[in-house]
Each structure stands twice: as structure tokens, then as C-alpha cells.
């Protein structure tokens, strides 16, 4: 067992003792034949501040003009943020890279003030681009004292070459608006190892949200 695996097990044990609400991730790379060639899973490192700020918009029902401010993924600040049907929406469709799960190449440690991935991969089939697939959810399931659900998205490499150096994942969540919301970073993780996606292959990111009473 490697030192990193040791640390991960220790971290998981600590979380199990101290946490009733947990976020964890799994990342898998498959080749063009669907064989898993690289895999990693572990506890998520972090939600970021926008998560609490959007929850606050909802909890206090901040309306238009109410002074809600949330930093968006483009670095600008929405100073008229308000409670909305779109809060936390992550159900991005095929080809949509403005929201939903994202992958990137930056390895800068997560900060509470992160507002975007450091180097997000864009949708497409060009150099260093990945085709963003539909976001899937599993419905909440109760098993014993625990309720959980998952969010999953695959990214397919049709760029013509291996895309190397995938080191970060995260979720771009919507807020404010009725049909199409603004977009903010909800959570971000830097992976323990660098992932390489062969041409014709794919990377699939799955987050599990879990709460135990």
C-alpha cells in the first residue's frame, strides 16, 4: 500500500467519525474499448464559499434588488443575486460547458475563495477539448441511517490525441434566474494523480452526496 493510499484511508476514517454529511468523488478513465485504464476515488476536498452564499439567498429569500452578491465562474461578481428556481442547478446537457461537472488541468490546492477551475477543459473536438456529455443523477436512496444520491458526467476525447494532465474536477452550479441562471463554482477537488485520456477514450466523474442521521 502506498503512502498516499494510507493517507486516504486515514482521512476517510476521520471523516467517518466526525462527519454526518459527506461528499465523495470517483474518477475513471476508459479507453476506446471501454476498459478502465485509470481510476481514483476519495472524499471530496471542498465545497467553496459560493455554496453557502447561494444557500443564504434561498434561506433568507433574497429578492431582486436585495443585495445578494456571488462571484461567478468568469471572475465577475453578480451583485443582484436572488433566490431562484435555478439555485444549485447542475443538470447540464450535452455540449454544455458553462455549468455542471467540469474537469481541468490545474493543480493549485483548493481555496475557500475559488470561483472556477484553474484551467477548465472546454467542450469540443479540437486540441485539448473534450465532448461534454449529459449529466446524470441517481434519485435519493435511503439505506439504513443514510440517504445518498449521485451526479455523474462523462467527457469524451475525440481530439485526435491523448489529453494529458487532468488534475482537477468540480461542479459549476447555477443561481439567480428563471430559465438560465448565472453560474458559480460549488465545489472543487484536485486529484491525487494526473489523468491521461487516450484519443477515443473518456473520463467519467461521479460525485456522491451523502448524509447519515
Amino acid at each position: 500500500m502506498t503512502e498516499e493510499q494510507d493517507k486516504r484511508i486515514e482521512r476517510t476514517a476521520i471523516e467517518a467519525l466526525s462527519s454526518e454529511a459527506r461528499l465523495s468523488y470517483k474518477v475513471e478513465v476508459t479507453d476506446r474499448d471501454g476498459r478502465v485504464v485509470q481510476r481514483e476515488e476519495g472524499p471530496s476536498h471542498s465545497y467553496v464559499r459560493q455554496w453557502n452564499e447561494i444557500l443564504h439567498l434561498q434561506a433568507t429569500a433574497i429578492y431582486i434588488g436585495g443585495g445578494g452578491t456571488v462571484k461567478m465562474t468568469d471572475g465577475s461578481t453578480e451583485s443582484n443575486a436572488y433566490y431562484s428556481v435555478r439555485s444549485f442547478a447542475s443538470n447540464a446537457g450535452i455540449g454544455v460547458d458553462r455549468s455542471g461537472l467540469r474537469v481541468g488541468k490545474d493543480s493549485t490546492p483548493v481555496s475557500i475563495n475559488d470561483y472556477a477551475l484553474g484551467a477548465p477543459i472546454a467542450h469540443g473536438t479540437g486540441l485539448d477539448q473534450l465532448e461534454h456529455q449529459l449529466t446524470y443523477f441517481t434519485s435519493p436512496v435511503v439505506a439504513g441511517p443514510t440517504l445518498s444520491f449521485t451526479i455523474q458526467r462523462s467527457f469524451v476525447n475525440h481530439s485526435g490525441a491523448t489529453i494529458s494532465g487532468i488534475q482537477e474536477i468540480g461542479n459549476y452550479i447555477e443561481f439567480t434566474g428563471s430559465m438560465l441562471g448565472r453560474v458559480a463554482l460549488g465545489f472543487r477537488d484536485v486529484l491525487g494523480s494526473s489523468f491521461n485520456i487516450p484519443d477515443g477514450g473518456a473520463i467519467t466523474v461521479t460525485y456522491t452526496l451523502k448524509v447519515t442521521a
Partner: protein, 189 residues
Amino acid sequence: MKRGLWYKATVRDRNGKVLSCENRRSRSMLGNWYRILYAHMASTSTSLVHTSGNSWGVINFGDNWKFVAAANEDYIGIVIGTGVAAVTIDDYKLESQIMQGTGSGQMRHLASTPSWPSVAGSSCDFLTSRTFLNNSGGPITVRESGIYCRVKGPTYYGYACIVRDVLATPQDVPDGGSITIDYTLRITA
């Protein structure tokens, strides 16, 4: 731990003197918290039992999660009770809620406004608190607390219990005294 919920229960006498204080990690966000989150993240609807006991479900909607509460409102915001039943993931209300009022076993519910999340170091805290006054004429022992929020199902509006805790130590609130419940949702990068 990167995200957690804490509560603090502070009891004061009629002169504002602190009689007791319990500060602990919250036992539980409930399944309902995550059902609402799922409805919003996936932009869909799912099952959920309202505080009324009706299985009206939840659909993504602007009003969901609202728990800012006005004075005298005992159906929304932080709530307290006398129940001691262990918390379960599918709890949909307090076991035995203390209602608004000045009658026997009742307490006056003051307004509650969650504060804007604050960042300090690597943490971001979201605090909400509420004070309850005991003008019932006798002591009241508080044993449970929680949060009720606004929620909308595909057809009906209602309220959902999203947090419930059984206090480690029952808190005796003397006549003329008060109890303040603080909940802090902390995320740490």
C-alpha cells in the same frame, strides 16, 4: 471535515445571565435537506414528507429552503421541542414541538434572520440563530431543536424539517428566561 453543521443552545435567566450553554456538532441534517438539494441540482421533483405529515414531495422552486422567520412564526425557521426520540434520517418534524405563545408549555418565538456567510481563513460560516422567551409562568425543559423550511411540492406548498437534534443535556428555561439556538453551517477548504 470539509462541511459540517454545529449548534449552540444558550439559556439565560430574566436578567440575561447565562445559566447554561451547550455547543456541539449537530447530529444531523436530515434526508429532507438532501432531497431538496437533489430537486434543485437535477431540476426535477422527488418524494418528501412535509411537516404536516403529507407526502407532497418537492420540486425545484424559488421558495425552497427559505427559513428566515418572523416573530411568532412557529412553522418556519429554528424550532424547539421537548422530544427525546433519537434522530432518524426520515424525521419530518420535531417529536414534540414547543408552540408559539405564553400558555403552559409555550414559548414566544422571536424573529430569525440568517446572516450573510462570513469567510475567515479557510472557512466560510453561515450562521442562523433564534431566541425563544419563556413567559409561560413556569419552567420549560427544551430537549430538541431543528430547522423547518419552506418547500413546494408539484402541487402544494408546505414546510419541511431539514435539521433535527436531540440536545445532549436537557436545557431548563426558567420563567422569564430565554433560550437561543445558533446553527452554523461551516465549509472548510
